[in-house]
């Protein structure tokens, strides 16, 4: 994401943009992708600058020079032509080339410009059109037939546009302007600790990670089986940024209020360890200083490894040790794993489900993991090991995230889920520092009204606002300037409030 490093590399996730159509692909030398009814390889973009324009030719991406559109040439022609349109009927049926012929030419690798020429030649009516109509016609045909893609780095803006155009219900109708309000009203910035509860395909988590830029911490709450990592792949975040992400399961949220401490015992020095023999523990200990009521002290022994993380350690330190452990648990087998499972309840569940989820992702991106190839047997062994690693990591992550939350030093809570937000907000709001922002999004105003009423009862907040933004796009063309004909009726609602120190009365 640094500015000097602006060339497409093998393994990068890139966005291909054609008009308003956006898709993410991972670059793999020699692999074909399928897009807009065409199969082609992305090899041609490797080593080229992000922002370049390519055309698909003979199944390959060929870089082409971007031409300056000269809209001004049609200046003042709009009005004259509109009047003359009265005598025109829809002329598309006057195209002598059949659809199959056009498709065949495309398969034969005709260049887009050449195809357009063919279309003009075979149009019965092109010459009878006014200059303005001709220009309009060519533009329309270009949009349809020119297979030109701009290669872009993924960003929150582009991913939000992509998801929105694919179907806003998948991201809870979260429109880009609403998302932008959330980030601003939440005062999201480098160095912050942000709790995110979302079910918008990772869009909100990714947006927060982007705005933190590797500085700070994001605690992402996941429902049962969907930690956000898979969805975040699209962002192609650097390791520095991904290291600021912690995942925490929603089903352990209520338990947070008993100031217990989960601890992972994990021996850093362990190398070729056997799953069944290692002693890795998650200890849940009551924080006796703060909690007056009696909470059972529990301990969960996970026999994977025995790294003991000092709960007072700095977080940056932690992520380092995490990475070390990642590279050290390589030789475990699947059977080992199975034996270990019976006792690993907290971590296990989420890890298992994560794996499934990652499987889904793989299918989508072509059934292969980035930049690696194994034969099937090796793959199986490695995967087992990875899964075991992931389990430990996840367990540690839960412990880490729990500790961060319980420090009550959170700077922002952002909620944007398919669930009713009130219980989530009420359960988490007290972990947010005073004089900070909470931001609750919902596609239903009623849900936020309810949340608002409960928060008022809960107290400890001021400066409530329940807002909606309208987004109106304009077509700005000579003599044809007006708001666009269709607009989005709703992009969701946002409730914001500022935390304050709870007063005794």
């Amino acid at each position: 994401m640094t500015s000097t490093d602006n060339l497409v590399k093998d393994g990068d996730r890139v966005m291909l943009k054609k008009g308003d159509n956006l898709r993410v692909f991972q670059v793999h030398k020699g692999r074909e992708i399928f897009l807009e009814k065409m199969k082609f390889k992305l090899d041609g973009i490797i080593g080229e600058t992000y922002g370049s324009l390519f055309e698909v030719k003979d199944g390959e991406m060929v870089k082409i020079v971007r031409q300056i559109e000269n809209e001004t040439s049609t200046d003042d022609k709009g009005i004259d032509t509109e009047k003359d349109n009265r005598h025109l009927l829809d002329q598309d049926s006057n195209q002598k080339l059949k659809q199959e012929e056009i498709e065949q030419m495309k398969k034969d690798g005709i260049s887009g410009a050449h195809l357009i020429d063919q279309l003009i030649e075979n149009s019965a009516t092109f010459q009878s059109k006014t200059e303005f109509s001709q220009a309009k016609w060519v533009k329309k045909k270009k949009k349809k037939h020119l297979n030109q893609f701009t290669v872009l780095r993924p960003s929150t803006r582009l991913l939000c546009e992509m998801h929105w155009s694919k179907g806003p219900s998948r991201i809870c109708n979260l429109r880009i302007d609403s998302l932008s309000q959330m980030l601003t009203m939440g005062n999201i910035r480098a160095g912050s600790t942000v709790m995110v509860v979302e079910s918008c395909l990772g869009l909100v988590t990714g947006a927060v990670l982007e705005r933190l830029g590797g500085f700070g911490k994001v605690i992402s709450f996941y429902h049962g089986d969907s930690p956000m990592k898979c969805n975040l792949d699209n962002y192609d975040f650097s390791k520095e940024i991904m290291d600021t992400l912690y995942n925490y399961p929603l089903e352990l949220v209520n338990s947070l209020k008993h100031k217990t401490e989960l601890r992972v015992n994990d021996d850093v020095s362990m190398e070729t360890a056997d799953l069944t023999d290692e002693s890795k523990c998650i200890k849940v200990e009551q924080d006796k200083d703060k909690s007056d009521n009696i909470v059972p002290s529990v301990e969960n022994v996970i026999k994977d490894s025995n790294v003991v993380i000092d709960t007072k350690a700095d977080v940056e330190m932690e992520s380092e040790s995490k990475n070390e452990s990642e590279s050290k648990t390589e030789t475990r087998t699947e059977s080992d794993l199975a034996e270990g499972e019976g006792q690993l309840k907290v971590a296990d569940r989420s890890v298992e489900k994560t794996d499934n989820r990652e499987g889904d992702c793989e299918q989508k991106t072509g059934g292969k993991r980035r930049g690696k190839k194994w034969n099937k047997r090796d793959n199986k062994v490695k995967k087992t090991k990875e899964r075991a690693e992931a389990k430990i990591l996840r367990a540690k992550e839960i412990v880490d995230a729990r500790r961060i939350i319980q420090e009550k030093n959170v700077d922002c809570l952002i909620v944007a889920t398919k669930f009713h937000p009130t219980p989530i907000v009420l359960a988490l709001v007290d972990y947010v520092n005073p004089s900070r922002q909470i931001v609750v999004y919902s596609q239903f105003k009623e849900a936020l009204e309810d949340c608002y009423v409960y928060l008022r009862e809960h107290k400890g907040l001021v400066n409530y606002r329940l807002t909606e933004t309208w987004l109106r796009e304009y077509q700005v063309l000579p003599n044809r300037t007006h708001p666009v004909i269709q607009m989005s009726g709703t992009g969701g609602y946002v409730l914001t409030a500022t935390t304050v120190v709870k007063s005794p009365n």
Binding site: E251, P296, E457, E473, Q486
Partner: protein, 383 residues
């Protein structure tokens, strides 16, 4: 005759509206002996004659309603010969031009006659519409339609390019409506058409450049109180939403032979998806709820209403009954605990242990973003 005034029973020659569901309406001129094909099967015209407007009519595969024509139903069902004005803009134009029975109105162009029908409805029986259309065929078809609809006595259709030849009306009109690419070319002529005592004018233009030029010309012709508006329709979809409550787990961790056992939630997979009952019909065409055209009227046949209601009732009932043994582990939002909670909490919807149910009327995802700019102005009497 059918557009001129309400009548109770269908006669041969009437124009009627067949209502099969919201985005499935047809207009039909009754001709004894003819048959019309609907998606519910064939409908013999003769079967309709004598029926009361508003009746339910059965075909083989379903039923439909036969409705009395109105300018509004005509607008959504008329054959498009041009871009047309829809009822939202029409309503506002009618109000802003002070139209009422007795008004003399000038319109150009006639187009597909969408606005014309509405104007005639409002100014009849004592007013008159002079409508101008530069396209010969369109003018003829419009005149025929007015005739079939029994309203030709209230309208004079003239085929003329008013930009070139003007209205040729001598101070007879109360209001002028312009829907032309170059409205500024006829402002002077429009002024001559308006009564000496003055009147109102409206110009509809899709682009702001046309508006700017029109405003200039209006002002220099002595029109005052210029106002330019956009009036946009926002349809709301009434539906019942079932928003799942999240499983935030137990508030205390349970010690279970040395390991932490959390009460794994009962299969939430399905229940955790938002259930939305679109009250306004679930027609078979509507495959993608996300892209319901906001321009369209949404509705349902009565049968569908009943279906939806029953479904919704069943769903809620089953929710009420389902596993309530997990009560202690979840935050309580129990509706029936009304007495123990603030009333305020209960003024939005209903909650049970798993869900927050409420009625909402969410705006449709797509709505009209722009139809045109409506510029209104007044011409006061010249001393």
């Amino acid at each position: 005759m059918s557009f001129a005034k309400y009548k109770s029973n269908i006669e041969n020659g009437d124009t009627v509206m067949l209502y099969l569901g919201f985005d499935n309406m047809h207009t039909l001129v009754i001709k004894d002996g003819d048959t019309f094909q609907t998606r519910y099967g064939a409908l013999r015209h003769s079967h309709l004659i004598g029926k009361q407007y508003g009746s339910r009519v059965y075909c083989k595969k379903g039923y439909l309603y036969v409705l009395h024509p109105t300018p509004e139903l005509w607008t959504v069902n008329l054959p498009h010969r041009t871009q047309i004005l829809y009822s939202t803009d029409i309503s506002f134009i009618t109000m802003q031009l002070d139209l009422r029975p007795g008004s003399i109105v000038v319109e150009s162009g006639t187009g597909s006659g969408s606005l014309s029908h509405s104007i005639i409805r409002t100014i009849a029986p004592t007013g008159h519409l002079h409508t101008f259309e530069f396209h010969d065929q369109r003018a003829k078809v419009a005149a025929e339609e007015f005739d079939i609809h029994g309203i030709s006595e209230y309208v004079t259709v003239t085929h003329r390019d008013v930009c070139q030849d003007g209205f040729q009306l001598d101070h007879i009109a109360d209001a002028v409506f312009l829907d032309l690419p170059k409205p500024w070319e006829v402002i002077d002529s429009a002024k001559g058409a308006l009564k000496h005592q003055g009147g109102r004018i409206c110009s509809f233009s899709p682009c702001i450049e046309q508006v700017q030029r029109t405003c200039n010309t209006l002002t220099s012709n002595g029109f005052v109180e210029l106002k330019t508006f956009e009036c946009l329709l926002r349809n709301h979809d009434v539906r019942t939403v079932n928003l799942p409550l999240p499983d935030l787990g137990p508030s205390d961790l349970v010690l279970h032979d040395g390991s932490v056992t959390i009460n794994s939630s009962t299969d939430n997979g399905k229940q955790n998806d938002i259930t939305e009952e679109t009250d306004t019909g679930t027609e078979s065409e509507k495959t993608d709820k996300d892209f319901i055209d906001a321009n369209c009227l949404k509705t349902e046949s009565e049968e569908q209403i009943v279906d939806t209601s029953d479904k919704s009732k069943r769903k809620i009932d089953s929710n009420d009954l389902r596993d309530s043994n997990s009560d202690t582990k979840r935050p309580r939002f129990d509706k029936l605990k009304l007495q123990n909670t603030r009333h305020d909490f209960d003024l939005i919807g209903c909650k049970d242990d798993k869900s927050f149910f409420f009625k909402t009327s969410a705006p449709t995802l797509q709505m009209p973003g722009h139809t045109g700019f409506l510029t209104f102005a007044t011409l006061y009497h010249s001393n």
